[in-house]
Symmetry: C2
Amino acid sequence: MTTIKDIAKAAGVSVTTVSRALNGYSDVSEKTRKKIMDIAKQLNYSPNTLARSLVMNKSKTIGLLVSGMTRSAVKDNFTFEVMTGVNDYIAKTDYDVILFNTNSTKQREKTYSQLCRERRVDGVILQGIKTDDPYLTEVVESDIPCVLIDIPIQSDRVGYVTTDNVHGAKKAVQHLLELGHRHIAMMNGHDYAFVSKQRLQGFYEAMEEANVPIQKEWIVNGDFSEEMAEARAYELFTKHQHITAIFCASDLMALGVMKALKQLGLRVPEDVSVVGYDDILLASYVSPALTTVAQNKFQMGYEAASMLIDMLEGNEAKVVTLRTQLVVRESTAEVKKG
Amino acid sequence: MTTIKDIAKAAGVSVTTVSRALNGYSDVSEKTRKKIMDIAKQLNYSPNTLARSLVMNKSKTIGLLVSGMTRSAVKDNFTFEVMTGVNDYIAKTDYDVILFNTNSTKQREKTYSQLCRERRVDGVILQGIKTDDPYLTEVVESDIPCVLIDIPIQSDRVGYVTTDNVHGAKKAVQHLLELGHRHIAMMNGHDYAFVSKQRLQGFYEAMEEANVPIQKEWIVNGDFSEEMAEARAYELFTKHQHITAIFCASDLMALGVMKALKQLGLRVPEDVSVVGYDDILLASYVSPALTTVAQNKFQMGYEAASMLIDMLEGNEAKVVTLRTQLVVRESTAEVKKG
DNA sequence: CGCAAAATCCGAAACGTTTTGGAAAAGATA
DNA sequence: TATCTTTTCCAAAACGTTTCGGATTTTGCG
């Protein structure tokens, strides 16, 4: 592999001059610059980023730490869409993305920040990490610039992007209320997700503002899993037959809930209205199509990447909150009279 | 950031000894090794991979070059599943993945192999690249070990993994033939995909073995795009009303075809049987559920990664062909009598 | 032509590792 | 004790860049 030295020798100049010529400095004459460029091309030269990174002390690399890259998560295109957004923005810069996966054996022995430090990434984007993850604090407390997705931690080195979860959930529940529902349950995620708390709050606010009493035993956790949600819903609806509507903190769980309802012989939306959250691809394809709160996952990734690059260029960490949108489809209907 | 030098100073030994201690060489006494390890931990030392890569001349990094990371491709979880497979295997090794995207502006100015060479990746996996991509030959002809997905090029430095496309397509068409269909069309991808040619061949073989005449004008290209397939199918079925079944070279195109049929007032499967290829997530969720040829996309990525790492460890490039499976769902039925 | 200013070039150090070839210290053997 | 082995350590070079400070050459001008 040809190096800057080879070029220097071939051109009869010093490596300094080659370096400066290739990097567009002004203190090299056009004549020699041209000569050097030509030789570089002819020798099929590619700069060695490793060497450059070493001396410049920046790798022009950002780490992308996702937890949702598992075989079972293909139903959930959330992760992929976020990644696509990140990739899309980064593609316009001179950075590259290095992929760290958290569901690995490596995770146990190496912490996230260790991974980042070893590869000398300039910054990192975290997505899908639980708030109780011991390694989360580690990377947040390290001095690596990072932006979190859906985790509200902020400092001068860490920003985050999220959506207006409270408001989104509120809209969803208000939609149910407007349809006349009063016996509304909620399938939440788990306690280690910021969004769960937020969406629960939105649920509360909507119910309280409408003066509808909240039944605490109608609020259950499905762990953001389709199967778990199905099981929980099955229990819930067999025990409490008054429930006419349920708000789910994710579409995947809504799918599970609908399965349970089907098993119980309850029709959606005639007997029970279901609304989800996320607007994953499947939401519009299942039958009945799922009413849900759409969040722009692509944009979340895009904004995260944009913010990170901004930070790397000296700007300060921000927090970005994106709008959500209620998408009414077929899984919600007016409550039955009587 | 603490370096090996800091440790050396703190331990009162040379950097050589620190390096060798940390890397488990035998020529350092257990006593000093322990001391060095302790100091390293205490100083929160992380080795600098850049420096190591530079001197070792290997980066322990593989490039993942995908073309399907676009906003419009979320329906098609093909790319994501392959990536997941790759990631899953790599997670078990001491390599990391660096993500190159091809649909970028960078692509125009930098070739794939340039990207790879600059980052000094040890090997690269290519997925979703068209066979006529000028940069494809470039990386294949470079000396970077690489494994291709669904592109049959082989040398001592390049292997590939694919599925038994001919056989898969044949099974799909035979399924239609067994249902009594004789007027069978095909929606193919484009000429720059190896799989298109293979699947076409499977189509031919099945038809010829059954002694069913082939109508060349019933074979059209949908460019692997849902919209394009919809348009082409609309034309096809308005012009040729004899057609009772169509085999599509991808599920996404099958979805487009079904849309066109719906517009034309043709029912699936009563009037027209449709079979797809891939078994994407949506296939089982659309209505009617799509009969299709399933390929294990996760495994494709997994095998690709496995082969690449094998190659990097000195083994030779191979070709891996995975089995496909016909999944009969609701979009195919016996041909109508009369 | 002579001299200052500007333009162009370069040597050497630095970045943080690994590795080679041997030196020093410790232990074993006679 | 003297010699030979084995164990333990280290100095220095190398990987391919960038950059600092200064050196050399060219240019401009009176």
